[in-house]
């Protein structure tokens, strides 16, 4: 596991910077939640006075929008955008960093197979993703409790926040694939910003024209966050596309990494 620990060391700096940025972003949203909650109370009370038949027709979901998970479903896309850029960078850099620093020779001439190198590096990246998600979700939950969000469905909250982890995995896989196919990339941030913002704009565009097909293209639209709040479920076809892209990305980049020629600099 020496490559895994070495990779973690190398990722440490950017991990801390990104984590702090994400926590700062989350703090901003947590700070506006009390105002939102106050307004939501008024609406919820108004809704509570509706006749029972109307309430039944609306379903319980209607009220969920005004809970803490509902609030976070509205603001999450900005966190998704940041998280996406973070892992797209990581994905591109996984093999690219050694290529740019020309340390690939050192690593591959050691008594270790390329598969092992790749898998240990990937594992280090996945560790960063899951630790980031873990800290971010705990932080937001703690913030909600301090901000007086009261009781809400933990399941809904986690289902909303899992989208963050999913987006990170998706962009990691895409970053890996892009880097494997293109080879040496110097403008890592440029490429990842272009792809992530491209997908984000596509998702906004899709919302405007209401195109269903776009929902299979951009990961920002795989899950309709407000729908999750009301129905507490994901849409299976989108989840299948999501998982497939992540798995295909990992496998494809592994195949390329293990077979590629490492040419002299």
């Amino acid at each position: 596991m020496n490559v895994y620990f070495q990779e973690l060391k190398m990722l440490r700096g950017t991990f801390i910077v990104w984590l702090l940025a994400l926590l700062a972003l989350a703090s901003i949203y947590l700070s506006v939640y009390p105002t939102f909650a106050k307004d939501a109370d008024v609406v919820t009370q108004a809704l509570a006075h509706l006749p029972p038949a109307v309430k039944q027709a609306m379903g319980t979901g209607g009220f969920q929008i005004f809970t803490f998970p509902g609030f976070f479903a509205n603001v999450l896309p900005i966190l998704l955008l940041a998280g996406g850029i973070q892992t797209m960078n990581m994905g591109i850099t996984l093999a690219n960093r050694e290529q740019l620093a020309q340390t690939t020779d050192f690593l591959i001439s050691k008594p270790v197979g390329r598969s092992r190198i790749f898998l240990q590096k990937l594992l280090a990246h996945l560790t960063v993703i899951f630790v980031t998600s873990g800290i971010l979700i705990s932080y937001i939950y703690a913030g909600s409790q301090m901000g007086g969000a009261g009781d809400f469905s933990m399941q809904t909250f986690l289902m909303i926040m899992a989208v963050f982890t999913g987006i990170q995995l998706w962009f990691l896989a895409v970053g890996l694939t892009v880097s494997a196919l293109v080879g040496r990339i110097r403008a890592v941030v440029g490429v990842s910003m272009a792809v992530v913002f491209g997908m984000f704009v596509l998702s906004l565009f899709g919302s405007v024209i209401g195109d269903e097909a776009i929902r299979y293209v951009t990961p920002f639209k795989y899950v309709d966050l407000l729908e999750v709040v009301t129905s507490q479920s994901y849409e299976l076809p989108h989840i299948i596309v999501w998982a497939s892209i992540v798995i295909v990305g990992f496998v494809l980049s592994w195949i390329i990494y293990t077979r590629r020629d490492v040419r002299a600099s």
Partner: protein, 299 residues
């Protein structure tokens, strides 16, 4: 004699352009084998293919009697490799990099590697506490030497290793290699500098345009190669003696004569002994000139 490296028609194309073609090499246990050729001849391609950095297009190779395609990691356990250009993780300290390097050799006692690391660092005057980023090119090269030798490998592969080392350090490095060789290590030494190879190697393979032209004992190569002779004379030149067998490519310019000579050098010294000389130069030929020689004999 056991073969440590054995290649059979090893071929590597980069797309359509040729890297190496049908390279057949046999490096025997305990020898220092030179691998010479000009830049771009295919030396690095051959070495990088042996190390698994490149996948051969066709042909095969074995190291320690194990197929390089199937047993790469196992083979590399006993190889020390020093490339011509060394690059390491800039943010690491030398000692951390060397320990990271040592951590890959799982079948060797860590303590022995660590001890060897300190010995080598002391010998090469390398500061282990410095950050890689702060090292000069020559010092980075020393890091390369230590990481290549600290696990006492059975096979040492050096790809133009002396660039960046000052003459004194080159000498220390060559002594170190001779010691490693005495210990039993086999060495494959690639270079485009003939004098380096001459100092060190027992046998040599000459590669040009991706093909091995000749594999010869160093002594024979020297004996069979041309000497470059240049004379500066203080009196008018009598050209008749230039018809002596073995003299070719005569060039006369004012009171300077230069020519190539192949044969017993005593014959030449006798010929010029009676001349009024201002200066004499007898030089070993450039590598290119040896190639010319081989091409001529091939044709």
């Amino acid at each position: 004699m056991t073969n440590i490296i054995s290649t059979k028609d090893l071929t590597k194309f980069y797309g359509k352009s040729l890297g190496i073609e049908k390279v057949n090499l046999e490096v025997q246990e305990g020898e220092i084998f030179g691998f010479i050729g000009p830049n771009g001849a295919g030396k690095s391609t051959t070495i990088r293919t042996l190390l698994g950095l490149l996948k051969p297009t066709s042909g095969s190779a074995t190291i320690f009697d194990k197929d390089i395609a199937k047993h790469g990691p196992e083979i590399r356990e006993e190889i020390g490799y020093l490339p011509s250009e060394v690059f390491y993780y800039d943010n690491m300290r030398v000692i951390d990099l060397l320990r990271y390097s040592a951590s890959f050799y799982k079948h060797k006692p860590r303590k022995a590697i660590e001890d060897r690391m300190y010995t080598l660092a002391k010998l090469l005057d390398l500061d282990l506490k410095k950050k890689i980023d702060d090292l000069s090119y020559g010092n980075k090269k020393k890091v390369g030497i230590v990481q290549g030798l600290q696990h006492s490998p059975k096979l040492i592969i050096l790809d133009e290793p002396t660039g960046g080392l000052d003459p004194l350090m080159q000498q220390t490095f060559f002594e170190l290699l001779r010691e490693e060789n005495k210990r039993g290590a086999t060495i494959l030494f690639s270079s485009h500098i003939l004098s380096e190879v001459q100092k060190l190697c027992d046998r040599v393979a000459i590669i040009k345009e991706g093909r091995i032209i000749k594999v010869e004992r160093m002594d024979d190569l020297r004996r069979n190669s041309y000497a470059k002779v240049r004379l500066e004379l203080g009196a008018p030149i009598n050209k008749t003696w230039l018809k002596h067998p073995g003299i070719s490519k005569v060039e006369v310019e004012a009171n300077h004569i230069s020519f190539l000579y192949k044969g017993d050098i005593n014959a030449i010294t006798k010929l010029v002994a009676d001349m009024k000389l201002i200066s004499v130069w007898i030089e070993e030929p450039e590598l290119e000139e040896i190639f010319m020689h081989y091409y001529q004999t091939e044709e």
